[in-house]
Amino acid sequence: MQNLTKLLVPLYPMERTAVLERFDVDRVRKDFPILTRTVNGKPLVYLDNGATTQKPRQVIDAIVNYYTQLNSNVHRGVHHLSQLATDAFEVTRRKLQPFINATHEHEIILTKGTTESINLVASCYGKAFVNTGDELIISAMEHHSNIVPWQILCEERGAILHVVPVNDAGELDMETYRSLLNERTKMVAMTYVSNALGTINPVKEIVALAHAVGAPVLLDAAQAIQHIAIDVQALDVDFLAFSGHKMYGPTGVGVLYGKEKWLNAMPPYQSGGEMIKEVTFAKTTYNELPFKFEAGTPNIEAGICLTHALDYITELGLDNIASYEYDLLKYATSQLLEIPGLRLVGTAKEKSSVISFLLDGVHPYDVGVILDKLGIAVRTGHHCTQPLMDRFNIPGTVRASIAMYNTREEMDILVAAVRRAATMLL
């Protein structure tokens, strides 16, 4: 538990006042219509934000506006609506560039989501750069989406997949990581923030160490992009993957950032329309970045409307969001630990917005069922991280994952509900 000390020291009252002055949660909540509904007769307490976030009115209105004013295919027609839709779609790419501080707009590839972004890199980078006997490194805390594509690649190319273990607190074993890196390492693929434990990995160090042996790094930022300001140039990361729906945007759009030099050196992913420059039966030449990797009609609605989620986050400021969420995390953690028999899973020094826990002798599923009856949405199970659950020798956890619209009052409701579940189940 020693790593938890930071999380258990509450913010000084003045510090907290300053946080709340910079972040007006009541105003934010008014923008999210779903937060006023009830579940099982109780006010909804939505704490499954790691799975997906709710959408603000601005995004919902944009979706309606798209279908009532803009609907048309992009990058094709010369007619007016197609021009409007294409412009709106490309605005998202233009805004994503400064959002993560990419060097070029064409380094932003729009995908279906994090999973597709990672699969794209595993497939295309793999074809170009991974050969028999090469080595890839992932960690023991990866989501299945950042395990399986690399396993498949290794099987196809006869490469070796190494796994960096985690300690009891759920932190990466950096010593082992260092020892695994060598000149045969062709890719390091790691998560920025663990979806199951909340651990924030030392990504800058991870990247620097990988680059020292010439290996590129892919960061799975699905659980980071909505909580932490990311600067891909400052991190010097080679690939970054994230999803729109976990950052208050629509489902069905995600992002792959890749350094231009890698993207240019990689073959296309899927083939068909849009990704071509010229097609003859003898030879096809490929389109330029980013379109080379965007075959077929994209999810236009989601692509366009992601802009409004980016605007929303940018206006509030990710640093303000992060300090507000950190206060909530500290508060909820200290309150939950007062419950007898409650054990946290994931006690890293650096954590973000995820509280995974177990009640001694109780299956997480049972806790989830009782919390649901009390109007609280949490996730129970292995969180698509079965190897990590095996590492801790548990079937899964109960996971409360925080977003910017959650409140201390909701944390109190959660704590009271867990107490009630404990009384019923123990």
């Binding site: 299956h363 049972d366 899964g396």
Partner: protein, 139 residues
């Protein structure tokens, strides 16, 4: 009692519970009290994999009737498993195969049979019927 008579009796029993808490407390109690399966049957070959909670199911065929025993690692699931066994165990394969389980819906626990609940219960019911169908064909 026939399968439907047992179902009707359970529906009557559950009508006495005033709220969801009482219902779940009953299920939890049922889960805690029932030693549902011998340890020798808690092996992978008897495991019905739900996404989250595990259910082990074993069927015996004695004197023309199917005897089900089962267990789960989650207590609420175990309570629900107990209900299923109360209803379906000790009936002929034909009765089980042709049974229609309406009680879960009527006692307000329908959500637990939804495929998205991932508790293994739906698979268990399917498996119970499959055993029965297999035995019917064999007979």
């Amino acid at each position: 009692m026939t399968i439907n008579e047992i179902q009707d009796e359970l529906i009557d029993d559950f009508a006495f519970f005033e709220d969801w808490m009482a219902k779940y407390e009953y299920l939890i109690q049922l889960g805690k009290e029932l030693p549902l399966i011998e340890d020798s049957y808690k092996k992978d070959e008897y495991l019905i994999k739900g996404c989250q909670s595990k259910v082990w199911l074993h069927a015996d065929y004695q004197n023309g009737k199917v005897i089900f025993t089962a267990d789960s690692d989650a207590i609420i699931t175990k309570g629900l498993v107990g209900l299923m066994i109360k209803v379906l165990s000790e009936h002929t394969p034909e009765e089980i195969a042709s049974s229609e389980l309406y009680f879960i819906d009527q006692i307000g626990l329908k959500e637990h049979l939804s495929p998205t609940r991932a508790n293994g219960l739906l698979s268990m019911v399917k498996q119970m019927k499959l055993y029965a169908v297999a035995l019917t064909v064999k007979n």
